[in-house]
């Protein structure tokens, strides 16, 4: 039986949502793990959900990234455990250096909660295995610090060789460079994204004009854990 850890820090607030979706929508065994009790062993995948770890203070994700839980998580890459960071989870992965770039305050200076259209490039790895090039995913964003930044050189050399999720034209809610909504390690094992797939996994939730596209990410995981990726 597949087992997924949902890692919770002080201030994490999407842990129950992710847990609900894993358990009740995809029937995956999962557990919310308090950061103090986290260790890497025994999990088939790890999700760092959204929220405001440590109040988003200093910078979103900055304090959580220095905890022993995350220091241990850095080894996930070596042992091949899939890691997904959603929203604050993405910010933590970036602050921990597990993913490149930085996430800065939104261009508008304001928090933004809104549904957006995104699409996938170069899908690879366990989180995107069921998607194809250009696959469209609708999800809501809800963040104050989601403006992705990376310099031109690293964009060319790293990001363009890795799986990527971009906001559709006109849907960039925060001023991210190159419309970037999510980035991954080259093999796709580690994925971070600002939009919330767990809020887009059930038919009831998308407003008119949007589809529950976030499902594909969890479906991909379930599929990949059984069949490989």
């Amino acid at each position: 039986m597949v087992k997924v850890a949902v890692l919770k820090f002080p201030g994490t607030n999407c842990d129950e949502d992710v847990h609900h979706v894993l358990k009740n929508v995809f029937f995956v065994d999962s557990q919310i793990v308090w950061y103090k009790n986290f260790s890497l062993n025994g999990w088939d995948a790890i999700i760092i959900p959204g929220g405001f770890s440590y109040g988003d203070w200093l910078r979103a994700g900055a304090i959580a990234a220095r905890t022993s839980a995350i220091e241990e998580l850095i080894n996930a890459r070596d042992i091949g455990v899939p890691v997904l960071g959603i929203c604050n989870g993405f910010q933590i992965l970036v602050e921990a250096g597990l993913l490149p770039g930085a996430l800065l305050p939104n261009e508008s200076g304001r928090f933004v909660c809104r549904w957006v259209r995104t699409y996938v490039e170069r899908p690879r790895g366990p989180w995107l295995s069921l998607t194809t090039e250009g696959y469209e995913i609708h999800m809501p964003v809800a963040h104050g610090e989601g403006r992705y930044y990376i310099d031109e050189e690293n964009y060319q050399n790293i990001l363009l060789k890795s799986p990527l999720i971009r906001y559709a034209k006109g849907d960039n809610p925060n001023g991210s460079v190159y419309d970037i909504a999510g980035v991954a390690s080259e093999d796709g094992l580690i994925l971070g994204l600002m939009p919330h797939p767990e809020r887009s996994s059930e038919d009831l939730l998308p407003p008119r004009g949007f589809r529950p596209g976030g499902r594909i990410i969890f479906e991909s995981l379930v599929y990949s854990l059984k069949r490989g990726w």
Partner: protein, 86 residues
């Protein structure tokens, strides 16, 4: 004759007014990582302005007046400091 001056503004919560951000950084980051020589952390906002004025003093005065008029800070909660950046 005017010159270009760099004026910095530092806005912090008043003494006695709580600073949860500073407390969190102190407790959950700095102390946890063993930097016990740090006793206290206060946070604030920093602004750096480039201003034309005939003297440093004048530049500081313009900025001070502006901070009051435009409510760059809230005197009820914040302390403000305006100074020339060395």
């Amino acid at each position: 004759m005017t010159f270009i001056h760099r004026v910095e503004i530092i806005i912090t919560n008043k003494k006695g007014v709580k600073d949860p951000e500073g407390e969190t950084i102190h407790k959950h980051l700095i102390l946890r990582k063993g930097y016990n020589v740090v006793h206290n952390v206060r946070t604030g906002k920093y602004l750096l302005l480039t201003v034309s004025a005939s003297s440093e003093e004048e530049a500081v005065n313009i900025v001070k007046e502006m901070c009051e008029k435009l409510r760059i800070y809230n005197p009820v909660v914040h302390d403000i400091e305006v100074r020339i950046r060395g």
